[in-house]
């Protein structure tokens, strides 16, 4: 019984890793669940398994809440950077940096929320970042939320948002703040 579950998991892991490799781009978790008729819990377990197996390897698993992608590992970036002809600019403007910091650290945010924090109209910067593929919109009821894309995580060299520096501290602060304001 237990071996059976394990072998199913192993098989699922193989399949999902294969699909992710074949796709070569971000795949939505919802789609994977549909594809393999598995539960969300099973998928998370499988992804954890793949993530573990790819530790210290040349390939790594990058994840957001909704998507997952196989990418090269941090160790390989230098080598590829050297091979790649077109050097990508490392410069992001102030408006971009602030907006990205908000969606990364604060979590998915509406345009209004981002504008409240930044104190300026953000219509055009959000459009620019969306065109560059650094942020994505997600519809939640009638609200449109902006959130980091997998490509942004790739650019930042992190596998999940949890790897962002200071993220735990900030998350704690935000929760505390919200508790306070609720009073």
């Amino acid at each position: 019984m237990s071996t059976n579950t394990e072998s199913t998991l192993q098989e699922l892991a193989q399949n999902i890793e294969g699909i992710l490799f074949w796709k070569g781009e971000a795949v939505s978790k919802k789609k994977l669940i549909e594809m393999f008729e598995c539960s969300e819990g099973q998928l998370e377990e499988v992804l954890k398994h793949i993530d573990n197996e790819t530790k210290n390897r040349g390939i790594s698993l990058v994840q957001t809440d909704s998507e997952v992608e196989l990418r090269t590992s941090k160790t390989v970036s230098k080598t590829i950077d050297q091979i790649q002809k077109d050097e990508l600019s490392r410069d992001l403007g102030k408006a971009s940096l602030e907006t990205l910091a908000i969606v990364c650290y604060r979590g998915p945010s509406t345009r209004k929320e981002i504008e409240y924090v930044r104190g300026v109209n953000c219509q055009s910067i959000l459009r620019t970042l969306e065109i560059r593929g650094l942020i994505e919109r997600e519809e939640e009821g009638s609200r449109i939320l902006y959130k980091p894309s997998i490509d942004l995580l790739g650019h930042l060299g992190i596998a999940t948002l949890q790897e962002l520096p200071e993220i735990d501290k900030v998350k704690g602060m935000i929760e505390k703040h919200e508790e306070n304001t609720e009073e």
Partner: protein, 280 residues
């Protein structure tokens, strides 16, 4: 006071405000906010005073109105710090608290954005390279149309795209109202401050009288005379500050004129050159 930093160096009013506070190595609170009010106002005055040759540095008008809205709260804070006698409405008190909170919140994300800046493309994780079908080995080309591909669906698709084009920047109604209310705030404050000032002068005069009185009475006690003298100097300074502040308010009011003029046009599309034309 000329600003050594170009306007484009700020991503918005909170950025400007924060950098003014940090330049003085202060913490964000109502005291530091009142200390940088003049710097802030002289800065946004410059926003309207740029020559046309520099107009690539201009903010779109809706951004200018964002700057002005913050200015209104700063003026309240400054007024209160200069004249504690000035009573503020609940709403005004709230706007001061909100600004402090917002600035602290903004400060947090601004400092976090340094992590993003540092990490961005430092050691990126690469996707598998995409090889187009035409360049793949042993791959026959496929044509796989879908049921929903039709001329009608392409037509409705392109219209959805066109409808999603960002609308030209129209001065938002809310901002117009806020800009208007700023002028009201200034007029109102000028009036209230003049009244409070009269009261201060009265106090000042009273002080003078009591001082003279004291001098007559305790001619021989030097210490108390000194204390009184200090008080007078302090009050004189205060009055000077208030007078210069009122003069400054005038300047801001003049600065407002250009924003007001846009108001007259109502919801008209804003051209940066119009914004750039000096109005004083």
């Amino acid at each position: 006071m000329p600003f050594e930093i170009k306007h484009s160096a700020y991503s918005g009013p909170l950025d400007l405000l924060l950098s003014l506070i940090e330049k003085r190595k202060l913490f964000v609170n109502d005291i530091s906010l009142s200390q940088v009010t003049e710097d802030y106002l002289s800065h946004i005055k410059n926003l309207g005073g740029l020559t046309e040759g520099e107009n690539h540095q201009l903010f779109p008008l809706h951004d200018v109105s964002d700057f002005i809205v913050i200015a209104s709260t700063l003026i309240l804070i400054k007024s209160r710090s200069l004249l504690p006698e000035l009573s503020l409405s609940g709403e005004e008190e709230q706007s001061i608290e909100d600004l402090e909170d917002r600035l602290k919140e903004y400060q947090k994300y601004k400092s976090l954005s340094a992590h993003i800046e540092k990490l961005f493309r430092l050691h990126p994780l690469f996707s598998k390279q995409y090889i187009p079908p035409s360049k793949r080995k042993n791959q026959t080309s496929v044509f796989a149309p879908a049921k929903d591909i039709s001329v009608a669906n392409l037509q409705s698709g392109i219209w959805r795209v066109i409808e999603s084009f960002p609308k030209k920047q129209v001065l938002p109604k809310v901002a117009v109202r806020k800009v208007k209310s700023l002028e009201e705030v200034i007029q109102d404050l000028t009036k209230r401050m003049t009244e409070a000032l009269t009261y201060s002068f009265k106090q000042f005069t009273d002080g003078e009288i009591s001082k003279l009185h004291g001098m007559n009475k305790k001619n021989d006690v030097e210490d108390s005379e000194n204390t009184d003298e200090k008080e007078v100097v302090a009050k004189e300074q205060k009055v000077t500050v208030i007078i210069s502040f009122l003069a400054m308010l005038e300047l801001v009011k003049q600065g407002m004129i250009y924003a007001n003029q846009h108001n007259d046009f109502g919801d008209i599309l804003m051209e940066s050159q119009q914004v750039g034309t000096p109005r004083y």
